[in-house]
Point group: C2
Chain length 678, copies 2
């Protein structure tokens, strides 16, 4: 598995090379460090971690480090797919539980930060069950076990999980609470890891256990981790400064202003557990989880603007501490507990977010005597409202990204008709176009490349088993995005391969009408995304159609492609849309076994003055720039204002993207963006 030819030549040789390169580490330190490196997800630059060992490593040292890392990687099992030995793993967990006097254990997909993307070490659910989806929960009792997933994953769970070990349940239709109430024996002790649940999330599980006559028991250390002998180490990926030219605002300014807000609310400190909050607040980026440049860690923000940062220093690239400055005090991760204890002993009022911080945080603070203020993460809203520099950055990123997508669409129009192009090949071609872009760092999520019926699977990922050829007469849906230093992108286009049916055109046009109704909406300051969600649906509703996902999620600035606190969804959300927020506009329609349609642009909230307006009005500026397939639009269904919107959008795309692409693409683009209106 070695990435280069060289084998590890032993500690003595390496010790010398390290000293020569001026590394702070000796050979004895490497085992731990490289276990962490091996425990990080694959990075776009697979050798970036070498900087952490020595910034001036010569070729000989590099070769030795590569070899050592390869050895470490071979020892750790990164879980994924249907594992043959889940039966043995479940048995090992059950033995561990029995030894601890537990009747069962709850295994969520979450990590200690409750994020959507987690490090390999935190893929406990995948290790135990084989299920690799991005959300789910398993419960293992001695006599029974179940895995709970949402509607996106009912098919996948059936493919990946051994039905003899786990019953699979739909998480809202047959929730874990009902299963616990039925299956937990009276007097049963159901264990959970308080690091992997929020206090809000535990409440209903606790009641369910009580209903069964049992109880929920917090485990001081995770019994699954004890059973998982080759569990990856906590990830060590480089943490770097994120420069002012991208962030637009000094970390010290952010910290001082947030600290003052805490002081005004008579709060002494806030515990920050969301890595994207840390990244935003401290203007740093990392690589501890896939697809999002997150540095895993915790922080305490004090009302005076000082920060205690609990993060493994070995992740820091040279110069990072200087970038963090004097008011950010770095501590080892295991120092978080005593720090919370000291806040408690000082009877401090400490804020933590019950929707995102682990129950462990609340338990520890309360036990130590702190007055816990349950309130939203103070970074969430200022992070969501991008400043002028961030907006300018995302506009630039969207131009480059739009050029890559446009090149892909032009390429597709040439190649897809052959019937020989597969979903995976198409996605790889799109990836190639993107990789060449300036400031490209990663994809922002795994590309969804779905032809025909695969397009109807909302969170489809093409695998060797599912990979389909793109055929004429079908629709092809591609949802993809990238992480650029100056912005995060996320775009979906649906393309007709050959001639679409009248039904496809009708339904595509209704999705487009919803996209336009939302994109062109004006709304008063104070309006939430929940209020606007229906605008994207009414054209579908009129035909008895709908889609079972939200209409828009927040998007970060070289951060999460999904971020809060706002969203456009029928699920009630009380956060008003504010100027500078970025959100997706992505209505869709899915015909199971037939085709999928989704049209997704990112938009940003802007002031939208209206002549004669009696109140301040807001609207959206569309950031995403790539053509929408005109051949799928049924003009008879379009109102004149809708046609005008589409034509104006296409004119913008042509003007912005045309100069960035090659001649053949430019020609295709000109045709693809010509007006619908005669």
């Amino acid at each position: 598995m070695s990435e280069s030819g060289a084998a590890y030549q032993g500690d003595e040789v390496v010790e010398r090379l390290l000293r020569k390169a001026g590394s702070p580490y000796g050979a004895a330190d490497l085992a731990g460090l490289l276990a962490g490196v091996a425990g990080a997800p694959e990075a776009t630059d697979p050798e970036a971690w070498i900087d952490l060992v020595a910034s001036n490593a010569g070729d000989a040292l590099k070769a030795q480090l590569r070899a050592y890392r390869a050895e470490m990687a071979a020892k750790t099992a990164i879980p994924g797919g249907r594992a043959a030995n889940t039966a043995a793993r479940v048995a090992a967990l059950r033995a561990e539980l029995q030894q601890r006097g537990l009747s069962g254990f709850i295994v969520p997909r979450s990590d200690e930060h409750q994020g959507e993307y987690v490090s390999p070490r935190a893929e406990r659910l995948a290790w135990l069950t084989g299920f690799t989806g991005s959300a789910g929960l398993a419960i293992v009792l001695q006599q029974a076990a179940a895995v709970f997933v949402d509607g996106r994953y009912t098919l996948q769970v059936a493919q990946q999980v051994d039905g003899a070990l786990f019953v699979a349940r739909h998480v809202t239709e047959q929730p874990p609470e009902a299963w616990i109430a039925e299956n937990l024996p009276a007097g049963g002790k159901l264990g959970y890891d308080p690091w992997l649940h929020t206090p809000d999330g535990l409440e209903s599980l606790r009641r369910a256990a009580a209903r069964a006559g049992g109880e929920l028991v917090a485990c001081a250390d995770n019994p699954l981790d004890a059973a998982w002998t080759d569990q990856p180490a906590a990830p060590i990926a480089p943490v770097r400064p994120h420069e002012l030219r991208y962030t637009g605002r000094d970390s010290i300014d952010k910290r001082t202003s947030l600290g003052a807000r805490l002081a005004a609310d008579k709060v002494d400190a806030a515990v920050l557990t969301a890595p994207d909050s840390l990244a935003w607040l401290l203007n740093i980026r990392g690589g501890d989880v896939p697809r999002t440049p997150l540095p895993l860690g915790f922080a305490v923000l004090h009302a005076d603007g000082a920060v205690d940062l609990f993060m493994d220093r070995r992740k820091f690239v040279p110069g990072l501490e200087a970038h963090l400055g004097n008011a950010v005090h770095v501590h080892a991760p295991d120092q978080l507990a005593p720090a919370l204890d000291r806040l408690g002993q000082g009877k401090r009022r400490v804020l933590a977010d019950p929707t995102s911080a682990a129950a462990w945080i609340f338990d520890r603070l309360a036990a130590a005597g702190a007055e816990v203020v349950r309130a939203g993460d103070p970074c969430a809203l200022p992070k969501a409202c991008k400043n002028a520099v961030e907006i300018e950055g995302t506009r630039a990123a969207h131009r480059r990204d739009g050029a890559a997508v446009t090149r892909f669409l032009a390429w597709l129009s040439e190649h897809a008709g052959s019937g020989k192009l597969s979903e995976i090949e198409a996605a790889e071609q799109l990836a190639q176009f993107r990789r060449g872009n300036e400031l490209f760092r990663d994809f922002s999520f795994d590309t969804i490349s779905g032809a025909g019926p695969n397009g109807a699977i909302v969170h489809y990922r093409a695998t060797s088993a599912s990979n389909r050829l793109i055929r004429s007469g079908e629709l092809y849906l591609v949802d993809s995005g990238a992480q650029y230093l100056d912005g995060t992108t996320d775009i979906t286009r649906t393309v007709a391969i050959g001639a679409p049916t009248a039904e496809m055109r009708d339904h595509f046009t209704r999705v487009l009408k919803g996209h336009i109704a939302l994109g062109a909406a004006r709304f008063p300051r104070g309006t939430t995304g929940s209020q606007l969600d229906a605008l994207a649906r009414t054209a579908l509703w009129a035909a008895g159609l709908d889609y079972d996902h939200g209409t828009g999620h927040g998007v970060g600035s070289y951060l999460g492609v999904h971020e809060g606190p706002h969203r456009i969804s029928k699920i009630p959300n009380r956060v008003p849309l504010e100027v500078g927020m970025i959100v997706s506009n992505e209505p869709g329609f899915y015909k199971t076994g037939g085709y999928g349609i989704r049209i997704e642009n990112l938009v940003t909230v802007v002031e939208a003055p209206v002549e004669g307006a009696e109140r301040p009005m807001l609207g959206f500026e569309t950031l995403t720039l790539a053509p929408i397939d005109r051949t799928l639009v049924e003009p008879a269904l379009m109102a004149p204002v809708e046609t005008a919107w589409l034509d104006a959008y296409h004119a913008r795309v042509a003007a912005a993207i045309g100069p960035l692409v090659d001649g053949a693409t430019a020609k295709w683009l000109a045709a693809a963006t010509r007006p619908l209106a005669p």
Copy 2:
């Protein structure tokens, strides 16, 4: 103040008359009974209460009872308007507080049932402050006092409340919590009556008191009641059966089915504190509060379908106990406390609704040892989903009501142009038309009759001080409704007097477009009113306009004109719209100092099959039948589907109402409902 010429001739005479009439009461019982009668709001039939004393009272007895009641009424002060002696009242309350060692006391507008309409006895806020609005809260400390009202009432509170006694605050902009935190002295004990607050409502007040270094203290008896020496008695208004031909469903059927639901949820009993829940569940109606036929009382519904009803038997018309049947056990109101204690001693699981039941209920249940299940009132949803008989009833009621409103609009078109008609005269004429209707029992709220700028006051009530003449060139807004035995109505029409301006037509048309967008919407089963609210606003938003109230409230069946659990509002509501729910559709626009526009129809949720639909779709059937002023519609702003909707609605109105009105009205109606489309 006597209503007839006769004076009370003494107990001996009356005793004889009572015996002769076969009354169960002696003269000695009359004082208490008639104090209660005097404590009830004025009824449409002012002598209905005589039945409670003797169902066959002769003229002589009637005269004596009238005289006695008049004496009782003279002794009780029904509060209202700016009372000259609020200073003395505040002083009396402060003395009472001092005696009890309290630093202050919280006086909400609520009664023990948290309803919108309360009995005269519960008008504590009006008595203390002079403020007669339907929502508000006062806090009296020894050195300071404040009254908190919402945006509807900022003007009214300034007119009614003595600024030297109370500072007036906007309840959301300067909330009571902030005032408490600033003004309650450290160590202060702030009293509250646990009967007049929900546990949910108390939480933030409790935190505010703690923030000031003080505490909230529950008062076993209300100190304001002690200071209010001529406080009206608890109301005694006749409680009658509500017949099966109106309810469509036996009480025993309702009770059995709800009891089974409780049993399925492993709940032993539910405490019902909402009088409309009692009225619906037991198929009874009363008259203890104005404008809504509510019988005040409490009930415990058991899982076996049996009910303990805590209600003053003296309110029952003859035969009511037979109507209630064997499984409804009637107890005096003071037996509620021991009944809750028994539930606690039995360790029962008892449901109570933390959003509508008094904190007292929860405190008592918890103290007695019950397991309290905090969940929604189990009657709310089945009450909201009207059955076929109720829907047929409300359709009939809306035809009769529509005829009265149409007669009024025709009459208005003839008389309003003179410039001599006042708002109060217009409202009185409308009331006259309604009173003549079959099955009419009351108005469902005080009519809003607002000309010109008064129309811009959303909850305007014309008083002798505010009464305006209706003038040419102005808009006139009338929002009114009635209680019929077969249904409750609520309609708003806005009428141009003379020629409207272009702006009026533009804004009216935008309100109409919102009304139509909502009224014509199709939506999938599971959709909430919160999701639909924006449909009624987008046409206004596009012009930078909006309105600051919800778009739709639930309406009862000969019950509250405002009922839950559903509503159409930007405020998040998680209750899906279900077939049979009645809800208003009432977008508006208000130009302060200029004019008000509101178009309100009641609609009911119906199945709305769509050809080719992939899921079950719902829509609205409009119940309200009266013309919408065509002269205010700007055809250029109307999309063809909108014009078609209006023309179809008007055709329905003409067909349904034409045959019910006189010839002159019918002629006016034909013109008022002619199609807009050429």
